[in-house]
Symmetry: C2
């Protein structure tokens, strides 16, 4: 994972624990690709202030991940959801081609809806 992408992902998980100013600076820098000078102007603080804020924020995000491990957990969850989805698709295809059970079809639909829901949490 590139560092930029990693920070963006950590922001998704832990953005709420930063102050508004910190979060804005990191979002401008990593998500919107603004320069330190541009961010300084937007936030009305010095370039060095922006640099310090981003460094501090990165440390907070990495510390949160070290303690809570949400990014790692999200990866495990998504991998599991992939495996479940793949196997539901196998059952679905077999059912469509061979068994044509409405009950199986209904259960598959419910499961697929739950998998979609879990993708977004």
């Amino acid at each position: 994972m590139s560092k930029n992408f990693e920070i963006s992902t950590l922001l998704d998980y832990y953005g709420m624990i930063l102050t508004d100013k910190q979060r804005e600076a990191v979002e401008f820098y990593y998500n919107d690709d603004l320069s330190l000078g541009e961010i300084a102007e937007n936030l009305n603080i010095s370039r060095q202030g922006v640099r310090d804020s981003i460094k501090r924020s990165e440390a907070i995000l990495y510390e949160a991940e070290e303690k809570l491990g949400l990014m790692k957990l999200g990866k495990v969850l998504n991998e599991s959801l992939d495996v479940i989805k793949k196997n539901i698709d196998v059952i679905d295809e077999l059912n469509i081609k061979r068994y044509r059970s409405n009950d199986i079809n209904e259960s598959i639909k419910v499961i697929l809806a739950e998998l979609e829901k879990l993708r977004d949490i």
Copy 2:
């Protein structure tokens, strides 16, 4: 959810963000049901120190949940896993009784293993 159980659950999710002393005090109090006096003796601090530490820790745990919502997320995840499990059981039973497909059986086994894994994350 009783407050005691809620704090214990929050500890499972966020215990790592407390200091060792804070975590010990809260665990003694909420998980082991020790009195403030007993905890004070164990940790070699004053009764008032224990009380302050527990109060401070509770505030940190509730603030973490407000910002990150892991306890709520865990509840949503577990409810979804229940629904998926129930529907996999329906498919499994239909398959055992009527269709007897080894391929469906294999896919069900893989899915059940993943569901078990997700129960523990």
